[in-house]
């Protein structure tokens, strides 16, 4: 039985966890002091050795990403933190920044020191005004405390940290679109190569990391590389935030070592809502192929989820019980992708437009059986054909849901309508009478 392991979320229940005083009372900025005492290259090596991997979805080793920045090239280097959390189901960075913004600031200082950047940016999604304010306050407090600005901690390192507010576009979570947006252009993904490590922000070497990845860095230095290595599984080291939402008794953030299973997490969170059973769930947000009850014991680390046919993604565990129509859920997600497609490439732009129309017909029971094959063929023409990964992601819920619930799709057709009562899946179902 894996136990919860709160690190980032350890003090969220303290009233002042988001303040400088609260953070420092619990050992905040101690990791920074240790890191600044090391050579920058040694900091990169330590992060590499820790085994920390990107928490934004792809799971790329964080230290390796930092080591790609060419040193001594005479160009400015930049650190950019992707806080444009917008995927349906994904809700880890928002509470983290709300309750513990200084962990990100501290991590960014360490990362900037390591890659030799004097400017760092947080690209934060525009809708979450309350988080932006806390983040801004945390940055101001860090400047006042001498952790940012000139000659940090008297150790000769300068860093300016800028909180940049996006305008609410899912595509700006794609790292190169984020960079375009940060530069003041319309957010659309860039052609790669060159990769951001070579030509990122303002065509200079740039590291783009997820909030949680960077926020996890201070703990590595505060508690040591070995400590971090000892957590998690063989190739997926450390702790992470699992976000449980949907038909679960106590939804929320559950911080645990990588490799925990959904069965264990459901035990901790009071299980699927009373009187119901799990039908399907996402391991890492809407872009990751869905799982069913048969996957409850899949270890939720990068390898385990991958081996089972999905992706760890953002560890956004959306739980759906048997009252939920999978076709309806997939249609909702697909409408999201259609709405958020940036329009740059044909497969995603036109494909999502079409997918929504076919899914609507299927959900309404007016489609044809061959529409399922058309849908799958269409997904085949989008997956791996679009410009960025967002187009690929749009097909995941469709192909995986047809894989597990083809019968349910067909039932819509034979019934001529959706066989589910949509209210039955809502929280207000009991209030209907």
């Amino acid at each position: 039985m894996t136990a919860l392991m709160p690190v980032l979320s350890k003090h969220w229940d303290e009233v002042d966890s988001f303040t400088m005083a609260g953070y420092q009372r619990n050992g905040g900025y101690e990791g920074l002091k240790k890191a600044l005492a090391m050579e920058p290259d040694a900091v990169i090596t330590a992060v590499k050795d820790s085994g920390l991997r990107g928490r934004g979805g792809a799971g790329f080793p964080t230290g390796m990403k930092w080591s790609f920045i060419p040193q001594g090239d005479g160009k400015p280097h930049y650190l950019v933190v992707n806080a444009d959390e917008s995927e349906p189901g994904t809700c880890k960075d928002t509470p983290l920044l709300l309750a513990n913004p200084h962990s990100l600031v501290e991590g960014m200082i360490i990362a900037s020191y390591a890659i030799r950047a004097n400017h760092a940016f947080i690209y934060i999604r525009g809708e979450i005004t309350h988080v932006i304010r806390r983040m801004q306050q945390a940055v101001d407090d860090a400047y006042a405390a001498g952790y940012l600005g000139k000659n940090i901690n008297g150790q000769g390192f300068d860093l300016d940290l800028i909180v940049h507010v996006g305008a609410g576009a899912y595509i700006c979570g794609e790292e190169t679109a984020l960079l375009d947006s940060l530069e003041g252009f319309r957010g659309q993904p860039r052609l790669r190569p060159p990769f951001p490590a070579i030509a990122g922000l303002y065509a200079c070497p740039t590291v783009v990391n997820n909030v949680e990845s960077i926020a996890s860095v201070p703990a590595i230095f505060a508690h040591g590389v070995e400590w971090f290595q000892s957590i998690g599984t063989e190739k997926s080291k450390g702790f992470t935030l699992y976000s449980l939402s949907g038909h679960v008794t106590r939804p929320g953030q559950y911080e645990a070592p990588l490799g925990i299973t959904l069965r264990e997490l459901l035990d901790m969170s009071g299980g699927v809502r009373a009187g119901h059973t799990i039908k399907f769930w996402t391991p890492g947000g809407s872009s990751t192929p869905i799982f069913t009850a048969e996957h409850l014991d899949v270890p939720l680390d990068y390898e385990g989820v991958g081996a089972a046919g999905s992706m760890l993604g953002t560890k956004a565990l959306q739980i759906f019980d048997e009252t939920t129509c999978v076709v309806r859920a997939v249609l909702r997600w697909t409408e999201f992708y259609k709405h958020e497609s940036c329009g740059k490439c044909t497969p995603c732009r036109e494909g999502t437009w079409w997918l929504v129309q076919i899914l609507k017909d299927l959900e309404n029971g007016v489609g044809k059986a061959e529409d399922l094959e058309k849908l799958l063929d269409l997904c085949d023409n989008i997956l791996g054909r679009s410009f960025c990964a967002l187009g690929d992601g749009a097909t995941s819920p469709i192909t995986s849901s047809i894989q597990y619930f083809r019968e349910e799709y067909l039932a819509h057709l034979s019934a001529g309508k959706c066989p589910f009562d949509p209210v039955a899946s809502t929280l207000f179902v009991g209030a209907r009478a």
Binding site: L191, G343, T346, R349, E350, G351, W353, W354, D377, N381
Partner: protein, 775 residues
Amino acid sequence: MTLTNNEVATSVEMITLTIDGFEVAVPKGTLIIRAAEMLGIQVPRFCDHPLLDPVGACRQCLVDVEINGRAFPKPQASCTMPVENGMVVKTQLTSPVAAKAQQGVMELLLINHPLDCPVCDKGGECPLQNQAMSTGRGESRFTGVKRTFPKPINISSQVLLDRERCVLCARCTRFSDQISGDPFITLNERGALQQVGIYEKEPFESYFSGNTIQICPVGALTGAAYRFRSRPFDLVSTPSVCEHCASGCALRTDVRRGVVLRRLAGDDAEVNEEWNCDKGRWAFQYATSKNRLTTPLVRVDGRLVPTSWPDALATAAAMLEGKRSAVLTGGRLTVEDAYAYQKFARTVLGTNDIDFRARSASEEERAFLGQIAGTSTSNADIDAAGHVVLVAFEPEEESPIVFLRLRRNVLSHNLTVSTVAPFRSAGSKKLNATVIKGDEIAALSGVQLDAHSVILVGERAARTPGLYSAVLEASKKSGAKVGWVPRRAGERGALEAGALGNLLPGGRPVSDPSARVDLASAWDSSTLPAEIGRTSDEIIMAASEGTLISLVVAGVDIDDLPVDARAALQKAFVVSFEIRESSVTEFADVVFPVAAVVEKSGTFVNWEGRARSFDRVLDDVSKFSDARVLSMLAKEMNRPLGFGGTASAGKELHALGPWDGARVSAPTAGPKSVDQGGNAQLISWRMLLDLGSLQEDEPHLAGTARKAIARISAGTAQKYGISSAIKISGEAGVITLPVEITEMQDDLVWVPENSIDSQIRTLGKSGRVTIGAAS
């Protein structure tokens, strides 16, 4: 498909790869899609354009790629990936995965594309239509609702946008950003509702907007002038050359049943790549305007009346025979026609009084041109240059394709541009040019030049005495090359043909007896006049004094001449050669109608000295070239020219060959301007789109002309209390314009030379004006 210069490196490292089983070696840096073309394998594409940066947006060109035995897990966009040694590429011809990927993208492109090919201008020459045939499926699987928009939108007065046809390849927006530097259009909105849009306060007023229509791979962008006029398969296309400026763009002229319906940029990597300007594209209606001359006219009892060719020829011959005469050719002639005029002047009229310069012109310039004739400073020199200095030359306004080349080089390698100019113009901004203000001669002497520099000097240098001499001096000192870029298409050709008082064909000096003897024997003529001919303003003076009795005048607008010619034309016998009624016509005693460019063959010589020959577009046997009419007139006067028309005139000029003897003496600075009075110096140049007579009858084009404004410095504005509008008074008239405060020297006022509300000809001939606030 053409290769750009950028893609063919000078020291070529070759890369060997295999495409569909064929091994091919291509220069390093070549994109897969281009390497496939070299094998004759056409990969379908939309966003890809060889002159634009790769973008990989449409995903139509997906192919399977393997490097060192490792296959990419998914098909790759062949328009963005450079070749590598040992790469194995499988296109749609050999890879079922690539073929399905391409078919999938094509199907997706078509779901939101209307089936309006039968009424679409692009139908029949449409890359989407063609590639839907090669890569699409016979029947659509899409049964849903297509995206629709209200249609069309005017994104400028001449470019219309049908948004539902757009495949969002971004060629137009990338062209405007990367090539012309006018990013007035951009993609707005998201997803399938993404669309090309304009900022409403800054419409798509680019001089190069027509190119976006030409490179649009669907019918989304159409030209107002051509929309719904024709089907591509009803057009007969003729390669042609633009008559509007000295850039000398290759064009394609499309005709349906004897009517020119449109013109497109032709491909010529050495001159205009695949671009042209909007004037070259759309200003061709003048040839069919209602004031077109169709028969000869003679003046009877003070009125011009139609007459027969024999009568007109006899009347003209009588006016010229035995009378001291001169020739003003204007700057629009082909080299063959110019050659005919100068031979007519020298062998029939017995004079060197001929000048092609219907503009500010000087003796100094003639001597300067004597150094230029027969030489070549070319686009290749611009490409090789590290520094280009512009003198009395605004390329975007006065030779727009030179501007595009400069801009391309500024962006793609380390070309720096300096300009000796009164202020930073919009064009100079786009060239990132260093502006050197103040006295032009002093400014020029301060510029750093070396053997890798090029000085491009415009015809306006004739307005500043000493400037041409200073250009040659600077070139001599540094080894920098000099390019002379006149504004009009015919001037360089007229120079080479010898339509100038001091120069015979090929730059032979009139003053050189051996040159005259050479030419006399070639022309089978006993002697040639030895006296240096008059300049255009001297010709006008002589005519008004009665020293010259008759004038032969070709395409000249009287108001373009630096002196008032009305009295002179009134007094002299005037034989006019014109396409349409002009300001000369009312003074003419005989008028010969001549062929417009589309009705004749010929050669323009562009600013480089490059011959740009073209064939007749319209087979209208009733239209005669200037050379043909002159040969008839010469015959009438019993001194035949020895050729009957354009082709034989050109052959004769060619046979004369270049001159290898001494050139005319180097120029010396003429007297400084003597203009007095007023409180400000008037400076001016022409806008690309203005009231020029070849732009008549094209309202859509005129709609994108820059609105006229006056420019003065802040100091001048304060001195005269001018805030929003300025009143400029000359000896003959007044111009009132909105004013824009500009970083420039005090006591100067700049206005466009010949634009709506701003024709400086109405002010009189003096460069001094009085400025004040307009009420």
